[in-house]
Amino acid sequence: MAVLDDTREMDPVTTVPALPEADTPAPKPRDVSTRRGLGDRIFRGGASLSGVLVLSVMVAVGLFLSIEATQALRSTGVSFFTTSEWQPDRNKFGIAAVLLGTVVIALVAVAIALPISIGTALFITEVAPTWLRSTLVALVDLMAAVPSVVYGLWGLFLLQGQLVGVSRWINAWLGWIPVFNVAGADPHSPLSSASVYTASAFIAGVVVAMMVMPIQCVVMREVFSQVPLGEREGAYALGSTRWGMIRVVALPFGRGGMIGGTMLGLGRALGETIAVLLIISPRFDINLHILEAGANSVSSLIALRYSEASGFGLSALMAAGLALFAVTLVVNFTASWFVARSRSGASSEA
């Protein structure tokens, strides 16, 4: 304190300028507008042109789909959302079954992928030794880059055989829960056919989960790696274990990113075509028994029916596609909203 008292006795270093006389006009702000040269005007024009071009392409896709879809929507009206059959030529079609099927497959995928992606993201940021970290990051990114047809082949030829056993096991022990019920199956009989369990929404969901997991994991890892070091070390300094630190610091900090990443994965799962198409056998009724053979999704419906469709059938397919697009759009914007308003929002650009 003695030091501060001494400084007070010194002369003031800052001098206050003398105020202008009262009758002088008030100073106006300087004009700082930029005069751009020819090169800059060409550059900005070109850049804006490309922006407008991209915008018009994207808007054209959306508008065209909407306009084409209205023809089908007008002829069915509200029943488009409640009908589960798909017979455009007899004017009896709707997305109740396919859209629900898409959502069911996506939910199964997210339910399986979520624990794995959270665990992997936390393992990479918190547990793994430094030398292993970059390798793991690269491998997870690689998983995201593997084409979906490769996952589809893997699911169809390898995973399906393994998962039939899992389906049977779940049906045997949890069959009393309606979702896991399978019509016409007797899991306790060793002679029962395995075919009642194949081509189900569950198997398609597991395969899609493998595609969704890395997408979720990338977002979550990014968020967890931005947990403030001070809070992290504060938890340790208070005697926390590693899990205690994760529970009270990392998870609350990363909540927004975790929700955002999950929904981003959900959006991808909803739009997946080829892997689902390879695995499921299509059916057109509302089916919530995920272990039962047969499932359907909007994108696989389009892939199956586009070639045989008449003009009106194509319009119906576009209406279905538009409904799917609306769902994925809502999911994606909700995801970015969650990420942006969370404390970890700085990572939303990743």
Partner: protein, 415 residues
Amino acid sequence: MTALMDDLATSTATPPAGTAMPFVTTSPLTTLPDRRDAAGVPQHRRVVGHISRHDVMVIVGALISAVATTMLVFGRFTPLDGQPGFTVVAFVLFLAIYAVLVSLTESLPAVVDRVMTALLATAAIVALAALFSVVVFVLWRGREALSKPNFYLEDLSVTGPLDPLEVGGILHAIVGTLVMTTIALIITVPLGLACAVYLTEAKGRGANLVRTVVTAMTALPSILAGLFIFATWILILGNQRSGLAASIAISIMMLPIIIRSADVVLRLVPGNLREASAALGAPQWRTVWHVVLPTARTGLTTSVILGVARGVGETAPVLLTAGFTATMNANPTKNPMVSLPLAAYELVRSPQPELIARGFGAAAVLMILVLALFTVARIFGGRPAGRLSKRQAKRAAARSTADLARFTSRQEGVS
């Protein structure tokens, strides 16, 4: 040690010359502990986060015990069966036994910590096992096709469904993928990068609108891009199914991806670089061309390569727009053209084992292509904007040495 302490004491007591503030402190506020006794004792850095032999033994013991107990339960006591059930029961038992073993020596929070760590590690192992399984399985099923040189040099035009793998290959699909990707690159790279530059340079309502629409378009399911091109280009405009149509569909998928990631990379360019360039009198286009783009080059390369990796593996839009053919066709404007993912998809749906093997071969080639692209992206990218690699730093140093020599020679010429 004592000399150092004396040094510190004097330096705090007398203020350095030139300080305006008069210090009147008489004694140092910080006292260093007297370490004279410890001078001769060798010091070791403490290891935190160390795995002792005891920890390893506990894990291995719990694992063996869990497997043995599960085998006993499954084989002797209950009529449980099936590999998945075995794995689940063994894993739950492992966690329980591990918790008990740790609790012998540790407190409750430590037990929870260890069990949760084991769970996190399990999640990572499951993820890696899945990736490993995918890669190995596809390579293994495709090995017979991949080992034949004709697989890369012939198309399937003269190959019957029952022909052995020595006849025919997927050259047409490889060429198709290359042609489609090249066209898609020609469309997306200039347009995507220019649009990303527009988003970062021309701030304002227009840029925000474009950014929102591009973000929305990343949600577009890929099959809808195909359906759009199928309905407009092929049905309304009456064009054939061709490689060009597929390229446009792929471009619609790739554009938002490239723009989004390039936008992020460009925004990471430090603002002071832009301001320095503007302060030196450079117009905006020169700043972008000579400062912003070179600084973000690695990141931009990565964003393009990631977009390509996505575009190469895209099956659904190609299915709708390119048609399927077994013959070689290098002309993108006429006749159907097939790409690697589409060939894999169509081939594995046939019942013939030879065709399925070819399908796996095509998938393996596609996977290797994507892995190669990805590795290239890793080598180029992975570094934030402005941070140079060793070689780049060396080149930059050489350039500035040359500049210095030029300046000095010019000054000598003047004087």
